[in-house]
Subunit: 460 residues, 2 copies
């Protein structure tokens, strides 16, 4: 039985194992789930051992553990570093009250209409597990692998990969590889496969504002004393210009303008009204209208308000003048914007928008350089071959609006090795949202594609 | 022993009883405290019986109970209706996480520097209990009262007095009185007593906004799809004009302009920087700068954002595009603004500020007509005499920025009887805020003033 046949025979087991992993609420952002995150790390490490990797380590960090596993028995063959993450986004904005928008329980995976519904199913447990099962199938079928394989699977991707920024330089020799494979993105459609050729960077900040020593009664001070909710709303409203562009001075200074070739390439992958409505559930748009949808999401930087809160938000009424307000703001960056520089510009602009004696506090929660991928390498040719085999059609290249901030570090520490961003998700997977799902067919095709990719890389 | 001497001898007991009442978390706004609200109603009714009222009733309503008590043994003498409330504001904006701004536990009363710290101490348990103890002292000392007394003490003042709007018309004959006394406000200072001659009205609404079927990943849709947090912030920022006035079209249409005499009278009760800083903890101002501080708070209408929330507000980061946002907005009204008309204008303006296909939902949480008080009645003369006796100085008249919405109903149902707004609070009582307190000296002076008021009204 070859590896593909073995993988087919093992599909039911693979799906059940993935469900086990999805039952662990490994929410890296919330301290109360620290034990579950550790449990997920141990689960991944166990399975790396079970499939036959020769060295598997779970490394404690200041945050959540890093899982490393390797099989180095292919002397002379290239070494492939496969990166992924076992942590997940919080399923609700408020864990205390949940969110009835979920049709199923986020940590109780349910099969429906060919999809597996669970938090983390597509992002990224299902995708990384496809690679694990591909390695398992190759080892089962052949007793060996066509390449050397190293897995680097972290537990802080959803919170900024803090530990990995120390771990990777500290383990540069151990992680040494010829190519890096990452499946933490999506393709256009099952019959329209795509490979990501650009990732946006990230700068995430939280701003806390205080205008008075405590909340005040609106009867006693309404119309007289500064209201933090109002000041915050007015400040947030000034972050964008009327034309939809970001109003922060200097925000676009470092942006490398799109070339006509880039605009032409991205125009090949139109984003129709039907697709947008199906995937996002809305046609209500904002942003820079002089750029196309795909350009706005993949090739242009943005600033978004991810959350805000001030004053009384419970049931009923409280006639309070809020003294405090908080907002979470993130920017998606494109080459050659730098997160530190953008933080300085955004926080400086916010300071300029409020009276001097208002107390402001800034926290940073995330960070990542934008990435442009070389699409002409032999390794990318292997990825094109593998995706063609797995999905029955040649892939197109497409920019991705999301960020995998650690990619820039992997590249810079590991001598700028090629990075292959081969995503098995679909556009309507509801990442970071209620009802996250992963297509079971994409999972199985992902395993096949990974087998083909390792084989193709072995031939390069 | 006369009533004043009896009250002095009974002060320690009165304070301990008040503490008992303050230990009951009778938060009318939050459903989970319904049992505590009922317990507070029963406590008040018990004490009305104990002091010798001849008829005491607790009436169930669709919301929280109404407590009624009467003593009608003064044939031929006037009848005084004393209104107050036993419910309190939520002590925290979020009951789940509390608020470290409180120096003490809100429902564990603590004496410090001559003040009693607890939620509801000034608003309104301490003030209504001063009247109860005044009636007790008169009955103890004299075996009778100089007037007939009716107590009407509700449990929904902080949530809009919903039940009372039905209860008062339904019990108009029972509540019939010659004058109404209300102590649910503050005076300028112990040595600078004041009586309230105007109350602002109230219109409180909640607006819920939805722009997409669910939250979306900012990597997948950032820069493309409408963000509810941003839309809400932009909408809220447009509720005020740059000059600090309310931007809602027609908002000021019904406002009766201030007369030179009104402006002159209110100019007598300046609000200094020192007072504002001491009371509010800030000098950061907003609002209509062409009006004085006292005018802005007492005689001009306002619109305030009492709370807002959207998206991810937990610890850390979540790169989400919020699909929903909520804000609580209230307006303080002055004669002759009508809450229904202002609701229509505010909600209509909000609708005009967002794209048509955004889903908007409005909830109303509060309602109240503004009130202007006749200061020339013989009953007001009695109040002036009583306050002069209780506080050693003649009171000035002062507009109050807060609302006691039920006052307009009491007046209209009970043949426009005079209403005496004799507040025993002080400006720095931290109503609706952390560290609410009631001066113990004001409590005792309040008892004396109430005795004097009932005696003076008996002579009119």
């Amino acid at each position: 039985m070859n590896a593909y046949d073995y993988a087919v025979s093992d599909r039911a087991a693979a799906l059940n194992e993935l469900k086990d992993l999805l039952r662990i609420p490994s929410i890296s952002a919330l301290g109360e789930y620290k034990g579950d995150v550790a449990r997920a790390a141990a689960w991944v490490a166990d399975h790396l051992k079970k499939i036959g990797l020769t060295r598997v380590e779970v490394s404690a960090t200041a945050g959540h553990p890093v899982v490393y596993g390797e099989w180095l028995g292919a002397a002379g063959a290239p070494t492939v570093l496969i990166y992924g993450h076992y942590d997940v986004q919080p399923p609700y904005n408020d864990m205390a009250t949940k969110d009835p928008a979920w049709q199923t329980e986020p940590f109780d995976p349910v099969e429906k209409d060919g999809n597996l519904y669970a938090r983390g199913s597509a992002d990224d447990k299902g995708q990384i597990y496809a690679h694990i099962k591909a390695v398992a199938a190759l080892l089962q079928a052949n007793g060996t692998l066509p390449v050397n394989v190293k897995f680097l699977i972290e537990g802080e991707e959803e919170t900024g990969s803090t530990a990995l920024y120390e771990y990777i330089p500290a383990h540069a020799a151990m992680l040494k590889a010829d190519v890096c494979v990452i499946s933490d993105s999506h393709m256009l459609a099952t019959d329209r496969p795509s490979i990501v050729n650009a990732l946006r960077g990230l700068m995430y900040l939280e701003v806390q504002m205080q205008v008075a020593k405590s909340d005040l009664h609106s009867g006693s001070y309404g119309g007289l004393v500064l209201n933090a909710a109002q000041l915050m709303a007015e400040m947030l409203a000034k972050l964008h210009a009327p034309d939809g562009s970001v109003a922060v001075p200097g925000f676009y200074d470092a942006v490398v303008p799109l070339t006509p070739a880039e605009r032409e390439a991205v125009a090949q992958v139109l984003w129709t009204d039907e697709e947008l409505l199906h995937e996002a559930g809305t046609l209500l748009e904002q942003g820079e209208r002089e750029y196309s949808r795909r350009e706005r999401v993949g090739l242009r930087p943005t600033l978004e308000i991810n959350g805000m809160v001030s004053g009384f938000t419970g049931e009923g009424s409280k006639t309070v003048l809020p003294s405090k307000a908080m907002a979470k703001i993130s920017c998606r960056l494109v080459a050659a914007q730098e997160p530190d520089d953008i933080f300085d510009k955004v926080s400086g602009y916010i300071k300029s928008l409020v009276p001097e004696s208002v107390t402001l506090r800034f926290l940073r929660h995330g960070n990542g350089l934008p990435v442009k991928v070389d699409i002409d390498s032999p390794q990318m040719q292997a990825a094109v071959e593998a995706v063609t085999r797995g999905f029955g059609a040649a892939p197109v290249f497409m920019p991705e609006g999301g960020s995998i901030p650690i990619v820039a570090t992997i590249r810079s520490v590991l001598n700028n090795i090629p990075v292959l961003l081969v995503g098995f998700g679909l556009p309507d997977d509801n990442l970071h949202a209620p009802d996250e799902k992963f297509s079971i067919d994409q999972f199985y095709r992902g395993i096949d594609t990974s087998i083909a990719l390792l084989e193709a890389l072995g031939r390069k």
